[in-house]
């Protein structure tokens, strides 16, 4: 056993209101520079929808992530031998058109336009070339457009849905959608790291944050095509790739990343999970239907004395072990099995998990009205307007079982709380539904508290990073204090 700690994340989709505050917080801190205008380390997608970059989940065309070939794991894009002939022209690189061309407006025209019969307009100008452009796409271009034939129906996740399910998803006036906020998953088997010919990408040993060493990146662009979530971006100005850094300067000072901190719906949770790094390759190589269970078993119980002993042996700090024991992410992922990894079939073992969203119940199916008073207490889960198959494609590696389990439990907790606070459900029914959802009363209380009444300290359990000890090991802290500079002193400019 090789215990490693990871700052892991959980997004509670049932609470997301799609306000994009996270995106703006991130944008203002990290990607407001030249060359990064089009990048959104954090973005919020409407599902069903095509997403950003357009149809990023369609790995038949983007070729991101890993694939099993003859029982072995290999990169779908350009790993090892295949990078050499392809390094000049990366065959799987998305271009700016797959994202959008950033623009601003010619506001001066509002002041300088000669007098005329019409109001002057501020024409859009490309932020790349400075020329006037026709805007064809932009950030959140398909926001809330799930019912549209261009966006909703082109979502790669509707693969395998029956015609009835499709109809139910897109029926005018009854269409349904939910929000899907995305940041880098800081995977435990990152395809971007594995693909980098320069070895510029790395996973930090202490907290598992995946970063790009800007001084080692040579702009070979492999990470951009290898990441199946398209969360590494190519800076067209500096010629280097950039990605979400989980606001590590904030994490190291005990603060939650900007997108977490600013989240209006308080959907975001952050905490340590301990996992067995020796099992990464084995788990990533499991058959598709076993991937979720495999990843869950790779995540270790921080209360288990043997795990604690092994963690200490691996140099994991006491405070980190303690943080792992209090981790909200651990509870949602492993104890309650409510949170699921996105598209784990890409085999990167993402360390960001999602609680799947509940959705309204369908009122008609196959032309007939659905009876709302079924004996089956969970009929509204299987009859929810977002078909289970769709959620299964997103969060269940194509299988619906784990998603259904998470939704049933959520529903059971709701009924149980309803029995207590509203009283229109009798406690006997509530307890029966809890039992059927594999949830005890205590567990329901805990889920309820951590979902609805959580404070900042409940949501973000960040261990100290103990940088001072790391310095002590190599250098006298006082000397360090006098000698350490300010990091980069030159701006990230293109070329020499």
């Amino acid at each position: 056993m090789n215990v490693r700690s990871q700052i892991s994340m959980m997004f509670h989709l049932d609470k997301c209101i799609g306000c994009h505050t996270c995106s703006i917080a991130c944008k203002n801190i990290w990607t407001d520079r030249k060359g990064t205008e089009y990048m959104w380390f954090n973005n919020v997608e409407t599902k069903p929808g095509t997403g950003y970059p357009t149809k990023w989940e369609d790995q038949d065309s983007y070729n991101g992530g890993w694939e099993k070939k003859n029982g072995k794991l290999r990169l779908k894009s350009t790993g090892r031998g295949r990078i050499i002939p392809n390094i000049f022209h990366n065959p799987n690189l998305p271009s700016m058109d797959d994202y959008y061309e950033p623009w601003t407006y010619d506001y001066q025209n509002l002041f300088n336009a000669p007098e005329g019969d019409d109001q002057p307009t501020a024409k859009p100008i490309s932020m790349v070339t400075g020329e006037y452009i026709d805007i064809e796409s932009g950030p959140n271009w398909d926001d809330d457009l799930s019912g549209s034939p261009i966006y909703g129906e082109n979502d790669p996740n509707i693969d395998g849905l029956t015609d009835q399910e499709r109809e139910q998803l897109f029926a005018i006036q009854r269409l349904v959608f939910f929000y899907f906020p995305r940041i880098c998953n800081h995977c435990s088997n990152p395809a971007c790291v594995a693909s980098c010919p320069s070895g510029a990408l790395y996973k930090r040993g202490e907290d598992g944050i995946v970063l790009i060493d800007q001084n080692r990146c040579r702009g070979w662009r492999s990470c951009v095509s290898a990441c199946p979530y398209k969360k590494t971006y190519f800076n067209w100005s500096t010629g280097k790739s950039e990605k979400c850094l989980l606001c590590f300067p904030r994490i190291e000072t005990g603060q939650a990343p900007a997108c977490f901190h600013s989240c209006v719906g308080r959907i975001r949770y952050l905490g340590v999970v301990l996992y067995d790094a020796d099992r990464i390759e084995e788990v990533a190589n499991l058959p598709q239907e076993e991937l979720i269970d495999g990843q869950r078993s790779m995540i270790l119980d921080p209360h288990d004395p043997q795990v604690i002993a092994e963690a200490r042996k691996s140099g994991i700090h006491e405070s980190t072990i303690k943080a792992a024991q209090n981790s909200p992410v651990y509870k949602f992922v492993k104890t309650w099995k409510l949170a699921l990894p996105p598209h784990i079939e890409y085999r990167t073992l993402p360390m960001l998990f999602y609680v799947p969203p509940m959705s309204p119940v369908i009122s008609s199916f196959d032309g007939k009205t659905v009876d709302g008073t079924s004996e089956d207490l969970f009929h509204d889960i299987s009859d929810s307007r977002v078909p289970m198959k769709f959620l299964g494609n997103l969060f269940g590696a194509g299988y619906t079982g784990k998603v259904e389990y998470a939704l049933r439990k959520q529903k059971a907790v709701r009924w149980y709380r309803r029995a207590i606070t509203v009283g229109d459900v009798d406690m006997a029914t509530a307890e029966r539904i809890l039992l059927e959802a594999d949830c005890s009363v205590e567990e329901a209380e805990e889920i309820y508290k951590l979902t609805s009444l959580c404070t900042v300290e409940d949501r973000f359990v960040i261990p100290p990073s103990h940088r001072e000890e790391a310095i002590e090991a190599l250098q006298d802290p006082m000397t360090r204090k006098q000698e350490a500079g300010f990091g980069f002193t030159a701006g990230p400019r293109r070329g020499m």
Binding site: G81, D97, H466
Partner: protein, 235 residues
């Protein structure tokens, strides 16, 4: 003692190579140490993904083969002459070299056209890029002209150019090999040294950081901030 060569000839063939190599090593090393960030391929594929292929791929495949050919002729001239001793082998070598030279030229011209044609690419093009492209164009064109006009270059390179280059390496430049050459060959030589001297100031430095360790390194890279051995014992 009077030299049989003019000062200009001495300068171009006897001194320029050393200046070029000196600048090459000095600037690449300083640049790597002071401004590592600037070592990048500066790819523009992200901004234009289609025509890119027709420029970059023929150029790189062409130039790599051609430069390897020059290197082989420089390193093992006698073996090369032995190979060329049989006519059909000479023809095969010369013809394939010419094909790759034209591949290089095609790629280079496409790259220049691409830089001019697409406004997004023009935006990330500097004066240095243009100067470099024109120097390369001059070099490749001169090379092709020489290959076609003065036949069996692979053989006379081995007998005349290789000794000249070796004399440079041995710090005892014998420029008599060069003096009798046609002016186009001279241009090719001088321009080669100009490009070597200009190299460290351009995007060409990406050649020096080609990712060879990739094939041998572990798949995943993990960096530890803390020394794990020390922190283990302190716990």
């Amino acid at each position: 003692m009077s030299s049989p060569f003019s000062n200009l000839e001495q300068l171009l063939y006897g001194i320029l190579p050393y200046v070029a190599m000196f600048v090459f090593f000095l600037v690449t090393i300083i640049r790597y140490r002071v401004h590592t960030f600037s070592y990048s391929s500066l790819s523009s594929q992200f901004l234009e993904n289609q025509f890119h292929f027709w420029g970059v791929v023929p150029f790189h495949y062409g130039i790599i083969v051609i430069l390897t050919g020059h290197l082989v002729a420089f390193l093992i001239p006698s073996q090369l002459l032995a190979w060329n001793g049989v006519p059909w082998r000479l023809y095969v070598l010369e013809l394939s070299a010419l094909i790759f030279a034209f591949l290089t030229l095609t790629g280079l011209v496409n790259l220049m056209v691409r830089r001019k044609k697409y406004s997004k690419i023009l935006e990330v093009t500097t004066k240095t890029d243009w100067l470099l492209l024109f120097l390369l164009l001059l070099q490749v064109s001169a090379g092709i002209y020489v290959a076609i006009t003065y036949r069996w270059g692979s053989s006379w390179f081995a007998t005349s150019m290789s000794p000249y280059l070796w004399s440079l390496v041995k710090l005892n430049p014998d420029i008599s090999y060069v003096i009798g050459m046609p002016w186009m060959v001279k241009l090719h030589i001088i321009n080669a040294f100009v490009i070597i001297g200009f190299f460290p100031f351009t995007r060409l430095v990406h050649v020096l950081v080609v990712p060879n360790p990739y094939l041998w390194r572990k798949t995943q890279v993990v960096r530890w901030y803390r020394d794990r051995q020390i922190s283990r014992s302190s716990v």
